[in-house]
Amino acid sequence: MPMKKVMKGNEAAAWAAKLAKPKVVAAFPITPSTLVPEKISEFVADGEMDAEFIKVESEHSAISACVGASAAGVRTFTATASQGLALMHEVLFIAAGMRLPIVMAIGNRALSAPINIWNDWQDTISERDTGWMQFYAENNQEALDLILIAFKVAEDERVLLPAMVGFDAFILTHTVEPVEIPDQEVVDEFLGEYVPKHAYLDPARPITQGALGFPAHYMEARYTVWEAMENARKVIKEVFDEFEKKFGRRYHMIEEYKTDDAEIILLTMGSLAGTLKEFVDKKREEGIKIGAAKMTVYRPFPIEEIRALAKKAKVLAILEKDISFGIGGAVFADTSRALINEKEKPIMLDFILGLGGRDVTFENLEEVVEISKKALEGEKVEEINWIGLRKEIL
């Protein structure tokens, strides 16, 4: 029988790692994810988890050790956030290029400067081109579930790519919520043992991993990463189906809420989706036709799902906690790419909000709707809007 426990997001991630039975975990503490390695070391100390836990001296070595372990042929897990993820940056490309199905939990946190430990998505968003799959959790249950799902997808022969699962700093990492912990036997059935197909350092079958790729081969090697990420779209959906069958919870690339007759659709990721659903209910009561949508998978980007969603809306408002300086929000840019050749597309607006832990309030969301309504009525508005900015201290 699955057991319900009240726990923080970080604990949910550690529980997911425990259930997935990785043979090697290498991690280095960083706020807000510190509890993940702490909890894992407790599991290991109590004999509840049979993993080698390498207490590395930095995140760079954490991900390097994970690459070594994964290349030696075992299931591997790590956790980090923010500066820690940035320190891993170089090796993230390598892990994907070497097609190693490492899974990493991220307590999504802002990046310096100024130093800030609170939530936004700048850390993972900045790694979107590394070849890692990216999942974003709305709540602690999703953090646990998506880590299990990430392992399953990452290790699929058609994919073999690493994956990161983001859950918002403090909003989820440190907030307790009831979480259903699935039965170990069901997880075992779902994940199975990791059997490496291509990467294992075995003296009986010596292979060279991480070779030098000359111009004659490099592009093809990168193409295979592209292809694997394309395959991941299908595999993720299959795994979502299987997950539902085994565990009863349903996941979607993009989860929609009251979108069918909506004129304005607010699209976001992570924990903000919960707030949006409440807000939509409130606006619906006021008779305003709005809906919400949550992107669970950001890489591979859900192109088809975005197109389907966009067909329903007159205004597609993207709410995101990140910024790509010189262009705008990254999710907005990606969403635009998905719609560029569509015959009919909604007006698209971007809202940068909640950076560095700034609260996203109903007042902020009212502002989003106000601007969206103006656009709907044909008024000219800004494409990129910073919401909740304290202009008086600029």
């Binding site: 080698e52 590395v56 050790a65 994964s70 042929g73 591997t76 090796v91 350092l201 003296p203």
Partner: protein, 315 residues
């Protein structure tokens, strides 16, 4: 008296056809080190192949692993410049979990070890992974075209320590990573030179045989980097020992009071002057117009020996 030389196995793990320069010192290191490793593995586990290699970016990695070819007849992985020690930690942890017997060999140049990789090295040693870290010391970043490293000796020319009106070349004393490694109180640390291949072979075997981490720093001349003719590689490496410039020693468990020396003259007087070593190499050519710089180099070497507990005379 003739020295009895230990036999060197005929097994090969470093295949010919790699792209190293003719006369490359580090290439000799690769071949000898893996041979020694296999012998240790055979004695320890009854399987000469019971090892895997984690390699840092650098000349030896680049010349040996050009897709779709490889020079390695052993399981081998390269990830990046600074993380061979961390990658080896992960491989070792995985092998432990898989119940696979054997030892991991991590290899890095002086740049990948003394500079950018020092942190990962220290972490790996401190955590006591069952890994031998082999630093082949060609005393500069050769792969990127001969830039100085913290292991470049005083006075040497490199492209980033050029001698000039205001410069004698590299102006800092060499960083001795073997001593830093020994400070971790790990089971075994040694210096070696391809100028004494039997000594190097014995030390690699020893390093591979101990339980826990070991570190070996081996001097390996680089033909273009040192500006030497290809046939002089071993001779130069030998002169480094004979002039006292390259101490050969072993430190076990960080016991600096009981350092074992090899090829040390009984009376502490080195017979050959350091100038013999310098003269063979283009990278020191300019020093001969600056005798005070040569004197400074000698002072630094004497100081190194003093730290190691030996008073020496350098002619």
């Amino acid at each position: 008296m003739a020295v009895r030389k230990p036999p060197i196995t005929t097994r090969e793990y470093w295949a010919p056809g790699h792209a190293a320069c003719a006369g490359c010192g580090p290439a000799i290191v690769m071949r000898l080190a893996t041979k020694a490793f296999s012998e240790a593995m055979e004695e320890k586990y009854g399987d000469p192949n019971a090892f895997a290699i984690a390699h840092a970016t650098g000349c030896m990695e680049v010349v040996s692993g050009v897709f779709p070819y490889t020079s390695w007849k052993a399981p081998w992985i390269h990830v990046a410049f600074e993380n061979a020690a961390a990658v080896a930690s992960g491989v070792e942890a995985a092998w432990k979990k898989l119940g696979r017997k054997g030892k991991i060999l991590a290899i890095g140049g002086d740049g990948g070890t003394a500079d950018i990789g020092l942190q990962a090295l220290s972490g790996m040693l401190e955590r006591r992974h069952n890994v031998v870290y082999l630093m082949y010391d060609n005393e500069a970043y050769m792969n990127t075209g001969i830039q100085r490293s913290s292991s470049t000796p005083y006075g040497a020319w490199t492209t980033t320590s050029p001698p000039g009106k205001y410069s004698i070349g590299e102006d800092k004393p060499k960083k001795w990573v073997a001593l830093i490694a020994a400070a971790h109180q790990i089971p075994y640390v040694a210096t070696a030179s391809i100028g004494d291949p039997y000594d190097f072979y014995r030390k690699m075997k020893k390093a591979a045989s101990v339980d826990g981490p070991a570190f070996v720093q081996v001097l390996a001349p680089c033909v273009p980097g040192w500006r030497i003719p290809p046939e002089k590689t071993v001779e130069v490496a030998k002169l480094a020992i004979e002039t006292g410039l390259w101490p050969l020693f072993e430190i076990e468990n960080g016991d600096f009071h009981n350092i074992k020396f090899q090829r040390f003259p009984k009376d502490g007087k080195f017979k050959k002057p350091i100038e013999d070593y310098l003269r063979l190499q283009g990278r020191f050519k300019h020093l001969f117009k600056r005798p005070e710089a040569i004197q400074e180099l000698k002072n630094q070497i004497k100081e190194l020996w003093r730290i190691l507990g030996k008073e020496v005379e350098l002619p």
